[in-house]
Symmetry: C2
Subunit: 197 residues, 2 copies
């Protein structure tokens, strides 16, 4: 009697760009220049699409940045999964440090860690959503570090928390190092950092 055809998307005209692709490009630009210093004009050029399209796909600059943070998280998910599935305790955390900067060795001027860069930039700016994204990432990492440290049964809770805190802060130094220091200096820094754990 009745027939209903529901069009979730009318699809009158297809997009000429792939959203995942342009997010990747935007991420690299934000990653290098930071949030404030990356203008919509720069994004237009880098992403290869019009401002209108950016706003149609990501609502605004803020929304696009959040998508880029998301993209970064999936980008480093492999390294985190590797740490999660490892079973050698402290050695795995050290390996995570190496993994975090391994890709930086191939480029002249590393962009550092996108999360740490964002953390530093937004320590001054009030933005709840971005801060939540960054904080959750760091909290998750700290949880993982604690988990690995607990594999050493000889350590008490207080020692583990102290060491986890130390390593999380050491990661800031690593992020700074990855931007300017040589491969050898970075490796030496990691070795020094883990010498007393």
């Amino acid at each position: 009697m009745f027939s209903f055809v529901v069009y979730l998307s009318a699809m009158a005209r297809k997009k000429k760009y792939d959203e995942a692709e342009v997010v990747e490009k935007a991420m690299n630009l934000f990653w290098r220049n930071g949030y404030v210093n990356t203008s919509m004009q720069m994004l237009e050029k880098e992403m290869g699409i019009n401002k209108f399209s950016i706003y149609a796909s990501f609502e605004n600059k803020h929304g696009l940045f959040l998508k880029c943070l998301e993209r970064y998280k999936t980008k480093v998910r492999g390294i985190l999964e590797k740490l999660k599935n490892a079973n050698n305790g402290v050695a795995d955390i050290k390996q995570f440090f190496y993994d975090s900067v391994s890709s930086d060795f191939k480029v002249d001027h590393s962009k550092g860690c996108f999360i740490t860069n964002t953390y530093n930039e937004f320590s001054q700016i009030e933005d709840q959503l971005i801060k939540e994204q960054v904080n959750s990432f760091m909290t998750d990492l700290k949880g993982l570090i604690i988990e690995k440290l607990k594999m050493d049964k000889t350590k008490d809770e207080e020692t583990i928390l102290r060491e986890a805190n130390y390593l999380l802060l050491a990661k800031h130094g690593l992020a700074a190092a990855s931007r300017v220091n040589t491969k050898k200096e970075i490796e030496d820094y990691i070795e020094m950092t883990f010498k007393n754990i």
Copy 2:
């Protein structure tokens, strides 16, 4: 026969503000919000003087920021002099780490280290002079650290450079810690950092 009166400054009207005072206020604003995120409008309000007066005294925003960096350097000169004049090697460097954050213990939300904050903002700052100032500060500090490490005659040159590099990067972690961590966490971090030196 002849008398010459040379007016180095015509002094037609005295300034209503003290330059050192307004620089101090500007420094604290830059220190908290960073260079890019501090506008002339905010500076006007905080310094309590008109834009015209700011430009008359400091040429422009860059000039004002450089004056603030200078002011910061004299502000921490005491701590650096203490390190320079000390004679106990590594223990002096550790004490310098404690001195660097001692004033932060008194406030709720520390602004961190002005130099490190500015260093982290490098991707957003195009001004070469500012970067030179910050880099020279860090180079000087590294030189001091090396000097103190060399007091231990049992260490070879390579070890000393490796340790100096490690400590300079550890300072980044300390700066991050000083902004959010508790007094105990910061102290634990310092102790952990120096355990293997």
